[in-house]
Subunit: 224 residues, 2 copies
């Protein structure tokens, strides 16, 4: 029985990692659409969002079945409940990739305002934080999770840099470029929100690991 | 035993409604701060966010205890699992009220760009959608939930109206007003995201009610 349950938990972890791979792919594809100003690529991102929505539902159903049939205790219960929260985060991250793709559609057909430097850096960071947050969760690695929370400061810094440049060096100097600058500014905000979701997941990991420790090893809380 | 469980479920519902009241209060307070350009009021919104974070944790713990101790079945299990997802939505909605308050801090000290007309309308809609979504959830009312999803179109319309006016009538004509227009534009986006969360909750309600019907009354799915 326990062995069967462990196999079911493994399937759940694989499904979560698969979902995070799809989110990373959606971020990559929306950035490629931006770099090429390619409306068709952007539309593909919008279309592929359906698969992630369906994966969220499938994952939630798996969790509900595990809760109903296996009646797990303590640590496993918390892990399954957190998985349902994280599936929601992943689905929202995919929605933000769709938001980016929609901004690309607004930009398509106009020349790019400036060469993209910091936006690709922020997109790389968003993908890395997503991948590492999910890994930290399935491996219950609180140290890795703490590292991800630190990365969010770099995401904020990059977002502020992009926003400041677009506002002060472009929009404030020449209001005719606003329609080409605004979508870039919003893309930076969408990317930074993806990083926020990864940070939320990392915070959940720390909360989960700490609660496990409290429930199972209360003596570790005051290690004097 | 069942009676005790029903009392516990009632407590959970009350806690969710209490949390949504705090979110509505945060939206009201951030809008009042905007209308008065009052940085102190805005700071209060930022500070009160802590209480909502703590309520999310308390609510999650209550759900985990209910799952562990009562081992609920089918409909109740789904309701408790959804409650944990909705507590996350509510916490994110409160974060968006904090985002609005931070935009107000950027605006404080400068004269308001224009009289506020559509932003207060959008804020009212956000509060109404929040209140009705939570009520639809605790009452498992799919019809009310469907009504909330319809309201989201009005939220999108208001957001687009605000954005278009600020971009075309103000920023494009006089780039010196950008620092007073941008925060208003972002506030409209924050409010619209709050409406999106309410819509997510409404979609969850419909999904939950439908799944209950499928599990308990499969014959109702094909009522020919």
């Amino acid at each position: 029985m326990q062995r069967h349950f462990d196999l079911e938990l493994d399937k759940l972890k694989k499904q979560l990692l698969e979902m995070s791979k799809l989110v990373e792919k959606a971020i990559s594809a929306s950035l490629e659409a931006l770099e090429k100003l390619d409306a068709v690529l952007a539309e593909n991102v919008v279309r592929s969002d359906r698969a992630i929505d369906e994966l969220e539902n499938a994952l939630d159903e798996r969790c509900l079945d595990l809760l109903a049939l296996q009646q797990p205790m303590a640590g496993d219960l918390r892990f399954i409940a957190m998985s349902m929260k994280i599936s929601t985060d992943l689905e929202r991250m995919a929605d933000l990739a769709v938001d980016i793709a929609q901004r690309v559609m607004e930009l398509a057909g106009k020349p790019l305002l400036k060469p993209l430097v910091d936006i690709p850096k922020l997109a790389e960071l968003a993908k890395r934080m997503t991948a590492e947050a999910l890994l930290a969760f399935v491996e219950k690695d609180a140290d890795a999770a703490a590292g991800i929370i630190m990365m969010d400061r770099e995401a904020d810094r990059l977002r502020n840099l992009i926003q400041k440049e677009l506002l002060e060096d472009f929009m404030a100097k020449d209001s005719s470029v606003i329609s080409r600058a605004m979508p870039l500014l919003l893309i930076a905000r969408h990317l930074e929100r993806i990083c926020d979701h990864a940070t939320n997941i990392a915070e959940d990991v720390i909360y989960m690991v700490r609660a496990d420790i409290v429930k199972h090893h209360p003596e570790r809380l005051n290690p004097e």
